[in-house]
Amino acid sequence: MANVHLRDLNIRLGGKDIIRGLDLQVAPGEFLVLLGPSGCGKSTLLHSIAGLVEPASGAIEIGGRDMTDAEPSERGIGMVFQSYALYPTMTVEANMSFGLRIAGTPKDEIRRRVARAASMLQLDALLSRKPAQLSGGQRQRVAIGRALVREARVFLFDEPLSNLDAKLRAELRRELKLLHQALGSTMIYVTHDQVEAMTLASRIVVMDRGHIQQVGTPAEVYERPANRFVAGFLGAPPMAFIDGAIDAAGRLRAGAIELAPRAEGMGPAPGPVVLGVRPEHVAIGDGPLRAEVTLVEPMGNHQVVWLRTMGAGGNALGALVHDARVFAPGQQVAFGIDASRVSLFDPQDGRRL
């Protein structure tokens, strides 16, 4: 268990600024997820913590020690890669013990640690197999085991579940969470999958184009997104954005939608805003607003109903329905929006108001 502290980190790759002036604190025992679209710099950031990418400037502290220029093996980290990166000519056991053998760890100690990791990951029966004889899920378990055996203070995961099929991904995701609960180690996890981020993280760092957009618990990031990018990136179906304005009385008008002033505290100043509505805050059946159903997506345990508000220049928004009501495209329905749960953004810079 160790903390990680990144200070004013700048990373350039191939003449391009990937990360600029980034500061981040990771508390000991935290499960931190770096979330963002591909190319946002999250993997590069992880590689720089691992020592595989050299930062142009700034400092990386792990466990209170400056590790900016340290070799990857000296940093007390274990890393799990998307492509598993197992040594193809070595058995599972040799794969897991490779690092310890290099470090000159005594044989008994190696055997003890490999056995412990193998039993935690249910790999006992596979120790003498080669990676080619394993399934994708087993391979990724071995890769996790290789990090476990190192008894790393910080575990780094680089999209470890992206190569697995959906069922296995959900299974291994739960195992990872259990593993974190059992070990209590610091874990930094890179993904572009918001479900992984929401379910695993104690804190999520949302990144875009080399900058941190928001840091917070999954609930914070989801409920109170700091800007339009975060709001749009998290949530499926995504949040609907509708241009509108607030009048002098504090009423919000956005297309055909009208919302009363916020009860609690101060609303934003009058002027143009962007209204953001999550589908779960749209209730079909009761409410003053009217819309036409354009599309219905049944999901089994719920359905997503897509609406277009009535009138000229109608706006599209989705709604979640958790009962068995049947909707057909073209049908007109009444709906309401939970005004206390909507997000408002500045139309210029996209910041939350």
Binding site: H47, E71, P72, S73, Y87, I102, A143, R146, D158
Partner: protein, 314 residues
Amino acid sequence: MTGPLHQGAIEPALAPAVQPLREPARGRTRRRRWSPARIGIYVFLLSAAAFFLLPLYAMIVTSLKPMDEIRRGGILALPQAWTLEPWRQAWSGVCTGAACEGIRGGFLNSVWITVPSTLLAIAIGAVNGYALSFWRPRGANILFGILLAGAFVPVQVMIYPLVRVMALAGIFGSLPAIVLVHLVFGMPVMTLLFRNYYAGVPHELFQAARIDGGGFWRIFLQVMLPMSLPILVVAAIMQVTGVWNDYILGLVFAGRDNLPMTVELNNVINTTTGTRQYNVDMAATILTALLPLALYFLSGRWFVRGIAAGAVKG
């Protein structure tokens, strides 16, 4: 009691149900074996094979005939009096210049040249390719570009400067000289082969080994080299055939005591004194070509892969 009865009852019941299903399936999937197009392909392949094999056939037949039979003509006729004497002559009796000890000495010289030239070239080429692919030292691409450009310069252009350099170093006309020359000329292709092979290895594998604490040599020897068997075989085939078949470099750099088999063969065939012994010439030629031929037959699959590796990935 009911178990066996049941099985007996089920099997015949299933059989007719399966049978009619299989029949049309077999009819659909079976290909007609002798369509006109197929016959055409075989005729072409067989005549092409005959065309290319005819010289080899003539060589073998001629090498097994006594001289008077050859003088009577009929180059494709089978020998009437079979003899292995020309082969014995070629191996250990024929004159190669001043000495008359056959091309046996040339064979051994070629082995002494080929073995170190192959092993060293592969070792250095593998390390080069590994370093270029994974460690990416500063200026690696420029270095690789220069190395590749070297592969396009004709060997003949380099001979005179190399002779001067070797003479200055005092090793001209020796075994180390010829091995060094083969190393230099083999290096671009060897490096290219290994670089391209390692470029296909996921970079994450290298990064994982780095996190495990592996250094330059440990990652090379314990992670990369064990998974390089296919390309090692390809490189060995290419280098062995290249070095064994070389004539001009051996003639210039090897010195009188280390002349390779190809040079000795030329001495046998171009001897101007006495009558021309065609049967011995043929036997000596086949003997010289035997090693690359054997290598090709034993590893045809790898051989093709080596050619493809150079052609597609270059």
